[in-house]
Amino acid sequence: MDKIYDHFTLDVQHADSLRLFTILLYLWFPLNVIMLYDVKDLLWGVDNVFYRHGHADGFIENFFYQLVYDATRFKMIFYTHLVASLLSIFQTRWSLIPRLITWCTAWLLFYAAIEAFNSGMMIMISLAFFASVIDTRAQHPFRILLTNLARYACIIQLSLVYFVAAIYKLSGDQWLAGDAFYYTVHITHFASDFWTSETMLNNHWLLTGLTWAGLLYQLIFPVMIWIKRGRTAFLIAGIFFHLFIGTFLHLWDFALAMIFCYALFMHDKTAARILRLLRLQP
């Protein structure tokens, strides 16, 4: 019991990697805003392209769905989100405020244009909730406790993403048969000329191997992150896995979100070196 107590209240665990993680997490939101900037009016403006069906009624729902029923608030919410996410990158005594605003406004934008987003936005919003209490310079034991709990919550959340996705994939036919990647490249939205060429489509073993490698990675992720031996190599493989998704399936927002999250598992010394390089070391 004393060991657990000390672990959670004496020091912020892996402070440098956690700091780098929070920087990347909140940096993802402005990057996403930049990626969506050209089409922001089509997504949330008064002349948006979504047919609004109405929404569940209730105090909380009315807050989180407000952009669904009132597009005139879009600019205020959009720019508030941008400013709040930029402020959230910096760690101050009052970071909780911009971070909670980032989390809230991200949900508002998400619900009002849900078809425009993939899992990348959802994972970052889910993590932003826990990360709002992170303070890697905390000296007070209560704040240290909150920060350490938030770190574990982020790790569990990330594991949950892979675990749920893997279980759903196992419940279908294509992933176990090794055909999922073959069917993916036949969807124009994800396909590239490289993968739809006759040579690649005839390379059955490669397509099957990629499918199984992706499935295996997701299945063992929740276990591998707790095992020190081989974890670094596993996570480097994961970075390549997500770079592959970004490059060939054109899901850069999702790929970057997942890669950014890997900072959580980075060695503290490496993270400290990167922070010093970015002049963000406290």
Binding site: Y5, F8, T9, M35, L36, V39, L42, L43, D47, V49, F50, Y51, H53, A56, I60, F64, Y65, W107, Y111, E115, A116, N118, S119, M122, S126, F129, H140, P141, F142, L145, L146, L149, Y152, A153, I156, Q157, L160, V161, V164, A165, I167, Y168, K169, S171, G172, D173, Q174, W175, D179, A180, Y182, Y183, T184, H186, I187, T188, H189, A191, L201, H204
Partner: protein
Amino acid sequence: MLMSIFRSRSFLIGALATGMAALIVHFVIILGYSFRDQLPASATKLTDRYAVPMFHQNWKLFAPDLPRYNAELEYRYFGNQTWSDWSDITKQCGFGPYTRMETIEQGFNTQLSWQVVNNYYALNGRAQFDRMVQSPAYANCLFYVLKMHELYVSKTKPDSVQIRLNFRFTPPPQQAHTYQISNLEFPVYVPI
């Protein structure tokens, strides 16, 4: 005084226990919400109440199976006493296959394809569209097409508009790569 309470060991043990318990309860409910299709209605009522809207999650990208077809949304409109050619509205408005607008269109296509699979039926040898055209999926597609048309093609509202889904079916792996192409035209819609 207050700060010393926050620093006291008994308070911190209580906070640690509460925090851990809260995280366990949170993730158990979220796990249930993630597999809500497998849970009884009484349980989903609870998980939905907790997870929506603040903790919503959906990790089914490319799962459980991918569609065995590629679907594209096309439309044509009637104006100046003539029908236009069929065209892909997203492409026509200058958005490529990997853009966010195409993501949106693909989302609508998936919804409407689901309608085709589950609500397209024949009665007395005639195709029936009634269930599909009453669905939000059809309304989404139609609204999207009309809005994009208004913003990028012509400010004048067309007299009539018609949408269709163009399917290109993926051949099974390790077979000849010839594609079967088919389309489904929906009834003509007259904007009010």
